[in-house]
Symmetry: C2
Subunit: 492 residues, 2 copies
């Protein structure tokens, strides 16, 4: 298989698919719409998990685990939520296979092993969790309940793409219960902010924080906060959501508490999640025609050392130096790998590490040893320089910081140069045809207008930015009054 990727200019979608597979991030499986996350891709996901988990714990949340299955009677209890997920869910109906009398050695579903009640494979866990919370909450002393779960979920999507939209995906889902509406709203906003911080500081992905319009909200939510990112092809990607659920689930599952005055009241809820979809955002924000580009914070190996040698003697001498470099770097919490595989030539190793987005590559040859130097190559700028071995650790620490900051800056510049203020619908349509990105435009606040615009242009309202200027204007489509600009875009 050729390692060379289709270029982004030629076919962005093909470039993406090829990159995911060739960089060993993920691949399609024998199960329709379900992916296999390969070790290298999973190592990046583990880095994301570790950082998010830390941030959740620092904000007072605890992990727990709830069942994979939701009995149909619980699934349908909160009607809007049920309606939102009913059309794309995997349903377990039987619990046993038997020998197939028509095909010796093969199996069939045992028709007598039918479940009394069907089980839905969780597309999201509000139903099973709120049914459990009923037993956990009696009084205000039990609140707030701040729970998170790392889990797999299944949504039977018809059109799937690796990481971006898969039938099964991995995610975390936070579920919290509060005494008051204000506290729940604060929690929903706080967790959206945690996601924004994570996206910007660790993934180097700039995001707009905002609220979803009613038609784009999570099924069962009263308000949905989101972080929206812009991909290199000018399409937006929803990278995380945090929902204020009001008392909807508390009422559907009868979760009441005795408040400080001794009166029974329904609790207030939030839920929030990010998923392996973030891998797609990561790829489409930073990568180039040579492959993946990783911010150092998420790189499984921040540095790889490649020996260039002809004799065993040279290799031994290089290995000795490499061991010292590795020990120094690890002392500074830099992850580093010595790629001393004898099955691959240096050129092939360079190409692989480029494809897999290793931030820094250090090459050491016999001449370097004599000169007390090494060659260091940056993945982000594709530049190389020869540096003194004695300064290497300091140089690497500086470069990793520079790369992390540089990737964010570059993505931010791209994003900011792809937000266009638009005041007429002609211009709106032109922009979507010619160049893409976010369109900042006035909207009259109605679902009708939103639908019409979507129908005509395929663009949706990505969010009502939290930092929206309350600037009066007229709707770009209907000409009716508007309170401020919202962000439109075509989206993943």
């Amino acid at each position: 298989m050729s390692k060379k990727l289709t270029s982004r200019a030629e076919d962005y979608s093909k470039w993406y698919n090829e990159l995911v597979v060739k960089a060993d991030l993920a691949e399609n499986s024998a199960v329709r719409g379900c992916m296999v996350i390969k070790p290298y891709g999973y190592a990046i996901w583990e880095k994301m998990q570790a950082q998010l988990d830390k941030m959740f714990k620092e904000t007072g949340h605890q992990n727990a685990y709830f069942p994979l299955f939701v009995p149909k009677s619980l699934f349908e209890a909160e009607e809007k939520n049920a309606e939102g997920f009913a059309k794309e869910c995997a349903i377990v109906t039987h619990y046993r296979l038997q020998n197939d009398p028509d095909r010796p050695g093969k199996l069939r579903v045992d028709p007598e092993a039918k479940l009394e009640e069907e089980l839905i494979v969780r597309p999201t866990s509000e139903a099973i969790i709120w049914n459990t919370f009923r037993g956990w909450v009696q009084s205000y002393r039990d609140l707030p309940l701040l729970i998170n779960q790392w889990a797999n979920v299944v949504r039977w999507e018809m059109r799937t793409r690796l990481f971006l939209r898969t039938a099964e995906f991995l995610w975390q889902e936070g579920h919290t219960a509060h005494e008051t509406k204000a506290e729940a709203l604060t929690e929903a906003a706080l967790m959206n902010n945690v996601y924004a911080t994570f996206a910007e500081e660790f993934m180097a992905i700039p995001v707009v924080q905002g609220l979803k319009t009613e038609s784009e909200r999570f099924a069962g939510a009263d308000e949905t906060y989101c972080i929206e990112a812009l991909m290199q092809d000018g399409k937006a990607l929803q990278a995380g959501t945090s929902h204020f659920l009001g008392q909807n689930f508390a009422k559907a599952f009868d979760v009441k508490f005795a408040n400080k005055e001794g009166k029974q009241d329904y609790v207030w809820a939030t839920s929030w999640g990010v998923s392996t979809r973030l891998m797609g955002a990561l790829i489409m924000t930073h990568s180039d025609d040579l492959g993946l580009v990783l911010p150092p914070s998420l790189a499984p190996n921040q540095v790889v050392i490649v020996p260039i040698y002809k004799t065993d003697e040279d290799l031994n001498a290089i290995t000795e130096v490499a061991n010292t470099i590795m020990s120094d770097l690890r002392g500074k919490h830099v992850t580093v790998k010595f790629d001393n595989r004898t099955t691959h030539r240096p050129g092939a190793k360079f190409a692989q590490h480029e494809l897999q987005g290793v931030p820094l590559r250090v090459a050491i040859g016999a001449r370097d040893l004599a000169n007390g130097t090494v060659e260091i190559a940056r993945r982000d700028t594709l530049t190389k320089e020869v540096v003194p071995l004695s300064d290497l650790t300091t140089i690497i620490e500086g470069l990793l910081k520079e790369i992390q900051d540089g990737l964010f800056k570059k993505a931010l510049d791209f994003r900011d140069s792809h937000i266009t203020e638009v005041d007429s619908f002609e211009e709106f349509k032109n922009i979507l045809e010619n160049k893409t990105g976010f369109i900042s435009a006035h909207w009259d606040g109605t679902a009708e207008t939103e639908d019409k615009i979507k129908e005509i242009t395929k663009a949706t309202i990505r969010c009502i930015p939290l930092e929206m200027n309350k600037e009066a204007g007229v709707c770009v489509y209907s000409g009716k009054p508007s309170e401020g600009r919202v962000l439109f875009a075509k989206a993943y």
Copy 2:
């Protein structure tokens, strides 16, 4: 709900169930046989995961993720494995719900949304993984393939118990592919040894390493290594297994490689796993009538500090001291919590921490402040002493080590005093009626004898110990020749 547990002597099984629920480890859910793992229980599981994950990575394994579902045609490909799991598996047959015309507002399975091929919710992942490995292995250069997955699996067990046997459980499953039979056998033994080290050094649970008999092997394995532990009630518990799968899955899924001579050959396989069942082993090895007893290595909080105060002034002074203690302890990587809840009295806090197995409790009152002392209580021995505040960190470090070692020693003494060498079947039956534990006896090596003994006594061969003396003898049941003693027991 009373916090007091049924005593072990009164009803061991009831004691176990009550402890799991009252110590906030887990509870039953609305889904038959599936549990909710509560935050405190999950925090212990996270500690196990972190340590095991580290040990897997240190032995060269990488994590990946494979689909939850196994298409039926793949599930049935390895016949013995399929047969072993066919009778207890959850089967997805449909992918959509619709409005139920007979029950307004409710849903039913859409009969038109039937899958062409049924999907089995993985009871174990050999089938889907080996189907994937086919694409990953071409030459000996691609081997060994050393993969691990942290995942949920489902086995539709009819009789379930929290942690010990649940329809859904969490586990890790290692899956490896090798060039040679010898290498795969070494891997299977190595990983069983990793489990034994983990059980003994981190969980403080002594285990016997051994091989399963043919009838107790994993379905599809040529050899199953295991670690067997002994619970306080004298029943054995299989705590982990590691399988040598021969070329069975390679043949079923056509996974071949070009060997060093350029010839095509099937690869050799292993798989190995431990699960949330370990939580059950942990509980039943160390705990007592007051609740959970945790080895410090797995305790979410190794130390809890409880302030004893009457005035806000006292609390402030105690808080200041507690903050210093916490900072010192955290500097030594000791996990510690200051239980300054105002909703609970000290007695209630003591009882809760006892129930939840916190290894060390430090109580600080106003008089302690004046004397420069604190009271420290051990959960394992239930002893208390007053110690100088100035030595506290050193004392705590010493005690944590002492507790960890002491718990293992106690469990080892119990286990060793519950292995009885038996040479007649009368004695064999007597022991199982009177006292329990492992019986070390000669066996003629046949499945017939094994079945007969099980039928008569309910005891099974837990393992053929790796350290078995090759001592010739005669079978305790049949009188036929035997090559050495094996371990029998009733088991969970």
